[in-house]
Subunit: 584 residues, 2 copies
Amino acid sequence: MRRLFPILDWGPQYDRAALGNDLLAALIVTIMLIPQSLAYAMLAGLPPEVGLYASIAPLVLYALFGTSRTLAVGPVAVISLMTAAAIAPLVATGMADQLGAAVALAVLSGLILLAMGLLRLGFIANFISHPVISGFITASGLLIAAGQFPALAGLSVRGETLPHLIGAIWQKAPEASLTTLGVGLPVLAFLVWTRSHLRPLLLKVGVAPRLAGVLSRAAPVLAVVATTLASWGLQLDLPVVGDIPRGLPLPTLPPLDPALWQAILLPAALISLVGYVETISVAQTLAAKRRQRIDPDQELVALGIANLGAGFSGGFPVTGGFARSVVNFDAGAETPAAGAFTAAGMALATLFLTPLLYHLPKATLAATIIVAVLSLVDLSALRRVAQISRSDFLAMLATILLTLIAGVEAGISAGVILSILLHLWRSSRPHVAVVGQVPGTEHFRNVARHHVITAPGVLSLRIDESLYFPNARFLEDRLLAALAEEPGLRHVVLICAAVNAIDTSALETLEALNARLRDGGVTLHLSEVKGPVMDRLLRSHLRTELSGQVFLTHYDAMMALAPEVTRACHDAARCETARARAAR
Amino acid sequence: MRRLFPILDWGPQYDRAALGNDLLAALIVTIMLIPQSLAYAMLAGLPPEVGLYASIAPLVLYALFGTSRTLAVGPVAVISLMTAAAIAPLVATGMADQLGAAVALAVLSGLILLAMGLLRLGFIANFISHPVISGFITASGLLIAAGQFPALAGLSVRGETLPHLIGAIWQKAPEASLTTLGVGLPVLAFLVWTRSHLRPLLLKVGVAPRLAGVLSRAAPVLAVVATTLASWGLQLDLPVVGDIPRGLPLPTLPPLDPALWQAILLPAALISLVGYVETISVAQTLAAKRRQRIDPDQELVALGIANLGAGFSGGFPVTGGFARSVVNFDAGAETPAAGAFTAAGMALATLFLTPLLYHLPKATLAATIIVAVLSLVDLSALRRVAQISRSDFLAMLATILLTLIAGVEAGISAGVILSILLHLWRSSRPHVAVVGQVPGTEHFRNVARHHVITAPGVLSLRIDESLYFPNARFLEDRLLAALAEEPGLRHVVLICAAVNAIDTSALETLEALNARLRDGGVTLHLSEVKGPVMDRLLRSHLRTELSGQVFLTHYDAMMALAPEVTRACHDAARCETARARAAR
């Protein structure tokens, strides 16, 4: 029960102090969330109220089921972009209207997340590697910014890929409105400035650090208020948010067309995975700061239920947002109740504030989106990753380029598939080193890197990887090649110190190798076999059929197979002579 | 050049002795191959001459390009079954006739194999694990036998799955012919008897062991001759092979319908992979006996060209056969020229022998197939695999059941996908052990398995796996859970002795963990880091940001972090007292 309802953990100890802190945090987050919700609904190509609706029911549900004390869920930039991309073809083919498609997407994402959580399949998210998710977020940020820049000039441009967007902007550029630009650009400049300069300024004038952090993140609210007043007071002629229906969201049912559900299966799965990866990463960062615990499987359940709530209340897919969660945390939220209070705040806003938002310029929302997403863009990560791993770099580059050129679904899918294939490819070619004795010691090192002595007729191979079916045949090829190339070969010793695990394929390969080497007059030995590997060896045919022995240490093996050379090598000076004598 | 034309290796040294040996081997293999080729064409649902054609051009081409000296290619049982399964739906939907579909299948398999060889993608075949291929072959053997048993009674039954076959047999049973059964059952009994008893008998009467082996495998030829004579001489009324067109195969072009090629893409890919896995395993077994070398990538090229040859000469997919290769080897074949001579023998057979095969009873061919495939069935492997690994057992069982119930394509695909998923799942949960000091030593062991001493406030975790994206998050969850559970925790030391490699995702996870643990007041240390992993650590942010140290040995780490307990533990008697004192 406690696992499924984390509220049982913190509910009973809830007191007045926590209530005060949670209420204050909720107030601040609500103020920040109103323009964000409108902006992300706009980004997803949906009516503004949908953004508000997505910030009510999901928050209450997450508060009941989530294990993070401070995570704030709701519409976020990348998921809104993915929603826009998923909806567009459905609307274009007339399969559903925008709202119906969005609701179906939220419900299906919710079901997928819930199923993954109940079946404990959270590990599936592991297969989105860091370089892939980071490349995807960078490319999404670029795509979002490219789509929102025109809105600063009053242009409404849509497109799922960079080439489309550029083409559309090129075509519509003549229609740019200077009035809108006159609002949009200053807001953008102001927001960019506040990103880096407001917090230091506030600190300098003596504001407490935590409050300064919260205030500097609330700058978009200031921009919203100022430009709404200007647009209304000066009767400016620019695109504004306009009428938002007042009132709470009504229960909504998604369209029940099977073709629609089939069409959104992949997008919904991708939205679920990307949203989950983001959520868990934010939640864990915040939880660690207070030494709290996140249960990744329960987070899936909570996020799933939150998305079901979003769908059935006429919203669109939601996830844990980084910026708003940090504000919630910094503002002092202590329990998930803060989320429920935020939901109440958003509900009040839909009831009473929407008329005030009529004159809010769309350009202001575009500017807040641009500033929010440009902080997601991190192209320098490409260079960092390139320094560490070539295959990670490849996967990341492919993700970025494909996301930009072919869209979000193609980008993230290709990245995931490519990184899994590269991973399998790498693990199919384990590092295997021929080793020899370091003169004057009982140690053995790679012959290619160190001055070491090898005994004639004995091949010592160190396997630097667990042995399983993707790499079993590689070892076989390697050993059979050695067999064909070295006519004087009598013994092969496999050093298994780094073999953490072995599977049936690898065991059978070893059995076959053992037989083939024996047919070729070569004895197969093993050394430094770990416990779990030895357990399995003993249950295989090798227990009785291994032509050679299993040695505890490789030094023992060499003492048994080439005693003169090995013993002589203990004395560094005598090494070469002993080897030369043995080779004759 | 030599890599692409292995004939350049052995051609120049070809002499009269080798010629004699190769000619004798070719003669024996030809005699064995004639009934086999007819039988496997029948199994694939094709006219008998197609089997003969598939045993001419492919053999010559493999002799030119293959790296195995003794591998004999041609039609084999499992690939013939897969061909039958691939062709059936195409014929049923009228997309192609049987021969056209078979030819297209051979050409496409050839192209796939050739491309894999030229692009050096042979490693893809690694992903068919041993339990999956062994389960698949067992299930195929059962399917083939179930399809051939009715032919012993003169019934012609076709079906792609066991339920279909059983249903068809049930329906047709009343039509069973006693005459046919009177030929089929004795032949079957004779062949089963020769399998186990002929060779010992021949050895007892003084036949040389190698010759005895060859003769006992030629028993089907005796059955063919005897029953053909009986059928002709006694004018028996039973299904016979009938008219086989005389003459060499003519150049054939596959149908060019794009829909057909798309429909056979998956079957052709599966036939290629299964055929390749079988070929390489036979070739390596034989090559090792003579310490010869197989080049797996070149084998792909050779097998690809052989299949192209099969297709363009009106044959069906071929691969390296186990039984015939062993006969070739035992009969003394020295070079691939033996294969070319076999091809010449088969060509002569199509020119002059086909009238003699008119009266060959189909029941005899069915019996030879049954005996050949029953040796492939190895259900005891299930028990063996179960003892070694549960996930391998699951993959094998799924392969067998799905192959029997849903057909060969579903079976092998499901097996491969399941084993890759299980592999990824396993590698996403690496073995991680909390370790403590063995009293009186500098060694550290799993606290769950040994009596060891842990120092208060220090968590020592040994990671028994390389760190990469599939398992990065697992480590994170594990450590953050420890952080939340142990309020007194001050230091975490990760023992990386078994971490053979690390990727960007894992490095970034460590960076995040480092920051999160630091936020929670815990210092992160590493010990026993391997060279390649250290190289990457030094290129990441961890180089400057690691809150703790990197220790050469774990003992060093513990001496630095908990010196009293660790030093005291060197003396087994003082361990507990030191620990108790430190915990106060």
